[in-house]
């Protein structure tokens, strides 16, 4: 196994771990804002790690370009979407969780 393959495997594993932890956070965190935190941090991180991991396995340049375009799109749109989402929720008065509250 070459160095590149090992590196790609490590990146893919890290990305998968980030995704699953984000999913668990999305499910388990007590309110909307903490869930936003879970999703918005792990989403671009996991996507980036996995896409770069795949990028190391590419054998044609046009595939690499497509992967890079997806990476660019995701790193731009995903944080933007969660940002405006959290912003709109704040303006809408979605309540914030405090110690001792019930889970929502």
């Amino acid at each position: 196994m070459s160095v590149i393959e090992v590196l790609s495997g490590v990146l893919l594993a890290a990305g998968a771990l980030a995704l699953v932890s984000g999913g668990v956070g999305l499910l388990r965190f007590p309110d909307f804002y903490t869930r936003t935190h879970a999703a918005s941090v792990t989403d671009p991180a996991g996507a980036g790690l996995i896409l770069i991991g795949l990028l190391l396995r590419v054998d044609a340049w046009d595939t690499a370009v497509r992967l890079l375009i997806i990476l660019l799109f995701l790193t731009l749109t995903s944080p933007t979407a969660t940002h405006i989402l959290a912003h709109a929720a704040r303006r809408d008065g979605v309540p914030m969780w405090q110690e001792g509250d019930r889970r929502r």
């Binding site: 799109f73 749109t77 933007t80 940002h83 912003h87």
Partner: protein, 335 residues
């Protein structure tokens, strides 16, 4: 169990769960978003089945445009579903069971998934489309050559359907331009809510937009070699434009493309398509027979014809979708 069937089973389970949840939700905005999720999963299944062009259409239309249009309609009406009495639901349940049972019964007649002796694989027409088309039309994506060349007339019919839909929406909802207010305080148009106040989204959308339009053009002209084509490209183009209208306001979007120009484009695409058919007839061929476009070199003629037709489809679809969005969104809120 292979990896392939495992993935398929998980996706199908997600589909069923989503469908059940959609029917149980009373909040219609949420239901519309879940319907978009449903489309995404369906498109993933199409990808796994190798139906790339269908997946492209499903994603572009089901997630992009139809979600936006449904949300636009909900903004004009109520966003909560009215409660139906239990007794009144019975006819609906009966109809669903009847239709569903019939469809399920009919599906027993279908050949097994992947069966090699099904009509799709054994019919002589398959040979024509899959192999002879490579020499006669000479483009790698068979779907495009079937849609734009062999079945050009059918595609023209579909385009007329899209055109008619746009016409119907505009004639029902009134002209595109904003009408004079009947009340002193006129209904608040969507354009007044400034999402553009959010600087982040304004910058990101503005930066993304050229790439979106470029991607639409890529889908249009790459449709002969990979998944994509006029319909998909038109819808992507419209999504980019809708994004612009949503973020920067309808007024600015209408300044970029005034409604008169939009309507000219709607008809232009259709006229180019029909005009190409007329041209082939004048050159001595039959309607939409592209072989005559380049005498002595049918493959070049086919290329040219398909390119013109796809462009025409793209123009009409993009402008019809944009027109429909403007007519919904431009009406403002009803309450």
């Amino acid at each position: 169990m292979t990896a392939f069937s495992l993935i398929n089973i998980v996706l199908l389970a997600i589909l069923v769960a989503t469908a059940v949840t959609i029917t149980r939700l009373r909040a219609l905005y949420e239901a519309a978003m879940l319907a978009a999720l449903f489309s995404l999963v369906t498109a993933c299944l199409f990808v796994l089945l190798d139906a790339l062009d269908v997946a492209f259409t499903e994603a572009a239309v089901g997630v992009g445009i139809s979600t936006v249009l449904i949300l636009g309609v909900l903004a004009l009406t109520r966003s909560r579903e009215a409660v139906t009495q239990r007794r009144r639901r019975l006819p609906g349940v009966a109809a669903v069971l009847l239709v569903g049972g019939t469809l399920g019964y009919a599906s027993l007649d279908l050949p097994a998934f992947g069966a090699a002796d099904s009509p799709v694989h054994s019919h002589p027409l398959t040979e024509v489309y899959l192999h002879q088309s490579q020499e006669a039309v000479g483009i790698p994506n068979t779907v495009t050559s079937v849609l734009a060349s062999y079945r050009g007339l059918d595609t023209l019919g579909e385009l007329v359907v899209v055109f008619t839909a746009g016409l119907a929406v505009v004639s029902l909802l009134g002209p595109l331009r904003r009408r004079r207010p009947t009340r002193p305080e006129r209904p608040r148009p969507i354009a007044d809510f400034d999402l553009a106040d959010y600087r982040v989204i304004r910058v990101v959308s503005g930066g993304l937009l050229p790439f979106v339009l470029l991607f639409a053009l890529y889908v249009l002209f790459h449709g002969e070699y990979g998944p994509g084509g006029g319909f998909q490209a038109g819808v992507i183009f419209a999504s980019g434009f809708v994004l612009y209208g949503l973020v920067f306001g309808l007024d600015r979007a209408q300044r970029v493309v005034p409604h008169a120009a939009l309507w000219s484009l709607v008809t232009l695409g259709l006229l180019v398509y029909i005009g190409l058919g007329m041209a082939t007839m004048l050159l001595g061929g039959s309607f939409l027979d592209y072989d005559v476009l380049a005498p002595g070199n049918p493959a070049t003629g086919q290329h040219l014809g398909i390119l013109v037709v796809e462009t025409a489809i793209g123009i009409t679809v993009a402008s019809v979708m944009t027109t429909i969005f403007f007519s919904f969104a431009g009406r403002g809120v009803s309450r």
